[in-house]
Each structure stands twice: as structure tokens, then as C-alpha cells.
């Protein structure tokens, strides 16, 4: 089988590892580009949201590269993304592609379901469950390393002396992690990556602003979609914290550790699930405010209902907790220049706010 899947940020490296170790050929979906977007826009319903369109384009590219099996996730709750797998399948079949589509519920959240459906993939390659478990563990380990290294890169970037050097180092790290084959090698690659990133020349005297990033999962995770918001902010001297990582549920070292905590934080503003990441966006904003972040950026696909609901409540959260929130809407017409302008202005705003508060503090403390 030649297997492909949706591309979200750096996770493709771990998925590739898993697919190859299960004895299949992996067709790594190309990073979304304007070509992907054009294809996707052409073959998707006009009013579908941008993640849908980019995925359409990605699948077409992967199928053109020879993939015969597409693995994707379904979804739960009222968000329409749960139906996307089915709709994609219909569109692609109508275009004349011959392939099989396996729609999993979010694989990393519903492990049992994932495994059951995986049988289809394991059987032809004669992989035992035991072996599968081993490989899955290694892939998971890789995913954790990818996330850890990325988190570190976002922490280092605002201190870099030469603009762009963190990104170059980070790309080196990705190649390194990609090459790591066994659990030992994966563990070692992490050490090396940390070293590579830490050796980026830095000016530690800077005091970067801290900004939390919230919103719909696909546009938050895939840099092409958010026009590389973390890199852009990092190069403006801002340290970013993203609310969503694929491996997040297994961690408790991030400030936002449990879904329950997020829901509790959102409760004063929104009492019920509205699908997608709507409730998370509110809860995370509350938590960022309580953890002393300077600001929050919400990224949402145009027409994404859960995020629109969150967006209309966010001004209240922002006012109550005195934390500026910038909402960005993404669709195929979104230009990088406009986004850059808003981000720069937002950073100026946060800097001024910080200066004002420091002055007030200085006045009160008699300095």
C-alpha cells in the first residue's frame, strides 16, 4: 500500500515513521503551497472552510504522487469537520481517482478506535499487534520530540541575534529527527536538537513579550495556513505559546494541561460545548491571562462557527481580564501583507501597554 495523510505542521515526520515501519510505502504529502490551495479551491465547495480546501488540494497532490490509501480523521461534536472525510472521498472519486479512504476518529485521542480500524492496514503487511504497539510507541515518541523541539524553537527565536537563524537551526533539527530510526536514536536526536537550538547566538538581555496562540486546530498547527505566525511573531521579538499540540494530552508540563481545566476556565463565559475548539479558545484565553501573558492571538478559518462564537465573546474576556486579544480570520483571500500588518501593530500595542504599566508601577513604588 502507498499511504498518505493530511499534513499538519511537523507531525508528518512521525506519521511517515509509523507507516514505513508498518511495512508500507509512505507518500509524504507535500507542504501546502499556493498550488495546493489553487487545486483545493477549484475542487471544493465555495463555502467550505479553508482547512477543507487545503486538504482537498493536499489529497490531490498525494494521489498524483501515487498514493492509493488516504488516512484521515473524522471528528466529534457539531463542527462540520466530522463530515469532511466523507465529502472529500466523494469529490476525489468524482475526479476519477482510485484509492481507499480510511476515516479515523482523531487517532491520537481515540487509541482503541484507531487500532481497530488499523487492522485494514496491518493485515496486508502481516504485522502483529505486538509489533504494532512497539512501532506506535516509537512514532509517538517521535511526535513528542517534534513538539518539544518546536516549543523550544519558539522560546529561543525572540532572543536570536541574527534574524532567521533559529529557523535554519530548526530545519536542521527536523532533518535529524526524520532520520532517527530506533527509539534510542529518537531519544538521541532530541538531545542533539536541543544542543543545536541552544547554540543559536542569542541576546539573553531581551525581555520578550509573551503571546498565547489559540484557535481552530488546523490553522493553528499548519504554518502555511497561519502564514507562519509563530515565526513572524518570534522575529518581532515575541515568545509564543501555542495552546494546541498533538501530544498535549499526555503532558502536564504545559500550563494548560487538561481539557477539564480549560472548560472550567471558560465556564463563566460559555457553559456548553459548541464544537470545534470554540470553548477551548475561551478557556485558554482565560488561562493565558491568569498566567501573566501579554496578549492572545486567535486564528480562525473564515466561516468557522465555533470560532465565530468564541470571537464574539472574547472582547468580554479581554476586558474583564485586561488582556488584549487579536482575532485573525483566514481564508484563501487572506494576504500575508495584511496579516503581517496586524501582527506588527498588535506587538506595538502590547509593547506600549507594558511600558505604560511599568511606568505606573514605577510611579507607585516611588522610583
Amino acid at each position: 500500500m502507498k499511504v498518505s495523510f493530511p499534513r499538519m505542521g511537523t507531525s508528518y515526520i512521525a506519521f511517515k515513521h509509523l507507516i514505513e515501519h508498518l511495512g508500507h510505502e509512505c507518500v509524504v504529502p507535500p507542504a501546502p503551497s499556493s498550488k495546493t490551495l489553487n487545486l483545493g479551491v477549484k475542487y471544493s465547495p465555495e463555502f467550505a472552510c479553508i482547512p477543507f480546501k487545503v486538504l482537498t488540494g493536499t489529497y490531490i497532490e498525494a494521489l498524483e504522487m501515487g498514493a492509493d490509501t488516504l488516512i484521515t480523521s473524522g471528528g466529534v461534536g457539531p463542527c462540520r469537520a466530522g463530515l469532511y472525510g466523507m465529502l472529500h472521498q466523494k469529490i476525489l472519486k468524482n475526479l476519477g481517482y482510485d484509492f481507499e479512504m480510511l476515516v479515523f476518529e482523531p487517532p491520537l485521542l481515540y487509541l482503541v478506535d484507531f487500532v481497530t480500524k488499523l487492522r485494514k492496514i496491518l493485515k496486508p503487511a502481516k504485522i502483529s499487534w505486538r509489533r504494532f504497539y512497539k512501532e506506535l510507541k516509537a512514532a509517538w515518541q517521535k511526535l513528542m520530540v517534534l513538539d518539544d523541539v518546536e516549543i523550544l524553537s519558539h522560546q529561543i527565536r525572540p532572543y536570536e541575534l541574527h534574524k532567521g537563524s533559529t529557523t535554519i537551526a530548526f530545519n536542521k533539527c527536523l532533518a535529524l529527527i526524520d532520520r532517527a530510526d530506533s527509539p534510542d536514536e529518537i531519544a538521541r536526536s532530541k538531545e542533539e536538537c536541543i544542543e543545536i537550538l541552544n547554540s543559536v547566538p542569542q541576546d539573553k538581555s531581551r525581555k520578550p513579550l509573551r503571546v498565547g496562540i489559540i484557535g481552530e486546530i488546523y490553522v493553528v498547527l499548519e504554518p502555511f495556513m497561519n502564514l507562519e505566525i509563530e515565526k513572524t511573531l518570534g522575529e518581532l521579538g515575541v515568545s509564543t505559546h501555542r495552546s494546541i499540540y498533538l501530544t498535549q494530552w499526555a503532558r502536564n508540563n504545559t500550563i494548560i494541561n487538561t481539557e477539564g481545566g480549560i472548560r472550567k476556565a471558560a465556564y463563566p463565559y460559555l457553559k456548553r460545548m459548541i464544537g470545534g475548539h470554540g470553548i477551548n479558545s475561551l478557556g485558554e484565553t482565560v488561562l493565558y491571562a491568569k498566567n501573566g501573558f501579554d496578549g492572545v492571538v486567535q486564528i480562525a478559518p473564515f466561516t468557522c462557527i465555533p470560532e465565530i462564537v468564541a470571537k464574539s465573546i472574547l472582547p468580554r474576556v479581554s476586558k474583564d481580564l485586561n488582556i488584549p486579544v487579536l482575532s485573525l480570520t483566514i481564508d484563501e483571500q487572506t494576504g500575508k501583507a495584511g496579516l503581517q500588518t496586524r501582527l506588527e501593530a498588535f506587538v506595538d500595542l502590547l509593547q506600549q501597554k507594558r511600558m505604560m504599566e511599568e511606568n505606573v508601577y514605577a510611579r507607585f513604588s516611588g522610583n
Partner: protein, 317 residues
């Protein structure tokens, strides 16, 4: 004599301002970009040069607007700032204590909220790119009225008709409909102004606390009809700064002045820089599957700047 140059390169207009050490405005220039930012920049620089005494020295340059990076590289800017900050800086200078800035230009509309001289919130028109300025131009042409008279005629209306203003596409078709129903031109134009203002306040101004003093600027501020519609909708006084259509450039000039105060040198390439031959070109990198579009800026056939790569491999020239 010393002065500071501010340039605002937008998609519709490119503006130049020169201020002196006290921030008095010595030169202000409004040119149409017409999709050719490089040519307009060169033309503008020539005009600026000609309008200054030969003994005049430019001690600092700032650029802003969507073409700020391009302009910054070509002219040698000391500071390259986004247009939201530039506008806020200029307006706080010209309208002291300003708390709300309404800005409607050719393509972009925005609102900036300031408190105690500090920007605390802002918003720009989002996905819909229907530029109010361009839209008014079009409708004036359709009604066969010179755009300069548009506002005046609106003010003559006693009974503005209600026009659907969800977006300019709706507004246009509804306007044609009202025309066919036999409403007079004054009432239609006044209705159109009110529709655009309603639309602005509902989309961009939504959830914002609009406190006085309120400044209204950008190309559309010349339109008395829109101003009147704002005053009616908000029931508050609207101030139109004297240089309402070059505020971005003023802000850029002020920021340049502040920047060189600390640095004491300027990166300005001199007026001769504008006479060089410039070329912008782009190519698609095939280095990896990102397929980035790399932009090259060439001066006299040698590359002076390059941007657009995600991995950073092309940024160093």
C-alpha cells in the same frame, strides 16, 4: 536645514511627507500607485526633491503601508512601520488627546482606539476587500456625478433612502433598484453614505468603545456625506485632521525623527537612489516542497534585497 521624510505606499495611493525638526509639515504629496509602486516611488522622490531647497538635508526616513518593505529597501529607511501604528502616531500629534480614529482609504478601512495616547485596540476590514473609496468612485461614475461633489449633494438630502449596506455588492444592486423606483439623486447618495457608515460601524467598529475626540481620516474623509453620516450615526462630533489623506506618511516621518534621535545616523540612500534603475522580479524556489515565491529587488541589475523564503535560505544577499 534638516528634515525627515515619511513615505506611505498603499495599493491605491503613495504619499510623501517631509517634516522639520519641530514636526511642521513642509511637503505633502498624494500620488496614485496604479499598480506600479516602484515608478511612483521614483516619481515622488523627484517631486519631493524639487520642492525642497537645495541646501535641505534629509536626516531620517520612515516608510509605512503595504509597500513599506519595498520602499524601505529602495530608499534606505531608518524605520519601517505598519500603517496602524503610523496612523496612531500621526493623529495623536495632530489631534491631541484623540481617543478614536476612524480611517477609510481606497482599499482598507480601520478603527484605532487610543487611551491616554496609547493604542489599546484596533481592527481592520477582514476578508471582504470591497474598498469603500473605490466603491464611492464607481458609484459616482455610475450616477454621473464628479466624486468631489458627491458629499455636497448628499448633504442636500432631506429624506435619505435606506440602502442595504451589508456589503458593497448588496449596496450597489439595492441602489440601482432605488434609482429605478424614482428616488432623487440626493436621497440615494445620502442613503448610500449612511449604508456605508452603518456597514463600517457594524463590521469594523463592532464592540469598540467610540469615545471623543474622534478623528476621521483617509481618502474618504474628503467626502462630506460620509462625515455627516458618521455624525448622525454616532451623535458625536467628528474631527477631520488637516492632512487627512497623508496621515500614514506623517506618522512614518515622525517615527523616523524619533528613530534617528537615538541612532544619530541615517540609512537614507539619498535622492540619487531614486534615479537608479530598479526591478522587482520573483521566482518559485524548487529547493523543497514549500515552493516559496521569492521576491528579488534589483538596483542597477544587482540584487539589493530578497524575501519570501520560509527556510531563510534566500534572505541573505
Amino acid at each position: 536645514m534638516l528634515g525627515f521624510l515619511g513615505i506611505d505606499v498603499g495599493s491605491v495611493s503613495t504619499n510623501f511627507v517631509v517634516i522639520d525638526a519641530e514636526s511642521n509639515i513642509l511637503v505633502h504629496l498624494y500620488l496614485r500607485t496604479q499598480g506600479q509602486p516602484i515608478r511612483v516611488l521614483q516619481e515622488g522622490m523627484q517631486l519631493v526633491k524639487d520642492s525642497l531647497p537645495s541646501t535641505f538635508t534629509i536626516a531620517g526616513v520612515g516608510t509605512t503601508g503595504s509597500g513599506r518593505i519595498l520602499a524601505g529597501v529602495m530608499i534606505g529607511a531608518d524605520v519601517i512601520k505598519n500603517e496602524i501604528t503610523a496612523h496612531a502616531v500621526a493623529t495623536s500629534f495632530l489631534v491631541p488627546e484623540v481617543q478614536t480614529i476612524l480611517e477609510i482609504g481606497g482599499q482598507d478601512s480601520k478603527i484605532i482606539i487610543l487611551r491616554n495616547g496609547v493604542v489599546t485596540d484596533f481592527a481592520m476590514n477582514t476578508v471582504c476587500a470591497a474598498g469603500t473609496g473605490s466603491f464611492l468612485d464607481q458609484q459616482a461614475a455610475r450616477l454621473n456625478i464628479p466624486i468631489e461633489n458627491f458629499g455636497e449633494i448628499a448633504l442636500r438630502s432631506k429624506n435619505p433612502v435606506r440602502i442595504a449596506g451589508r456589503c458593497t455588492v448588496f449596496a450597489e444592486s439595492d441602489m440601482i433598484h432605488k434609482q429605478q423606483m424614482g428616488h432623487n439623486v440626493e436621497d440615494i447618495i445620502a442613503g448610500l453614505c449612511e449604508a456605508l457608515v452603518r456597514n463600517y460601524l457594524n463590521n469594523i467598529g463592532k464592540g469598540k468603545e467610540i469615545l471623543e475626540p474622534i478623528a476621521f481620516q483617509g481618502g474618504v474623509a474628503a467626502n462630506l456625506g460620509i462625515r455627516a453620516a458618521f455624525e448622525k450615526a454616532l451623535n458625536k462630533k467628528i474631527i477631520i485632521p488637516k492632512y487627512f489623506n497623508v496621515m500614514g506618511a506623517i506618522g512614518a516621518a515622525i517615527l523616523a525623527k524619533e528613530e534617528v534621535k537615538n541612532r544619530k545616523t541615517t540609512s537614507f540612500r539619498g535622492f540619487a537612489a531614486a534615479e537608479q534603475e530598479y526591478q522587482a522580479s520573483s521566482f518559485e524556489c524548487t529547493g523543497c516542497s514549500n515552493a516559496c515565491e521569492i521576491i528579488n529587488i534589483q538596483m542597477n541589475r544587482s540584487i539589493i534585497a530578497r524575501w519570501g523564503s520560509r527556510c531563510g535560505k534566500w534572505e541573505h544577499v
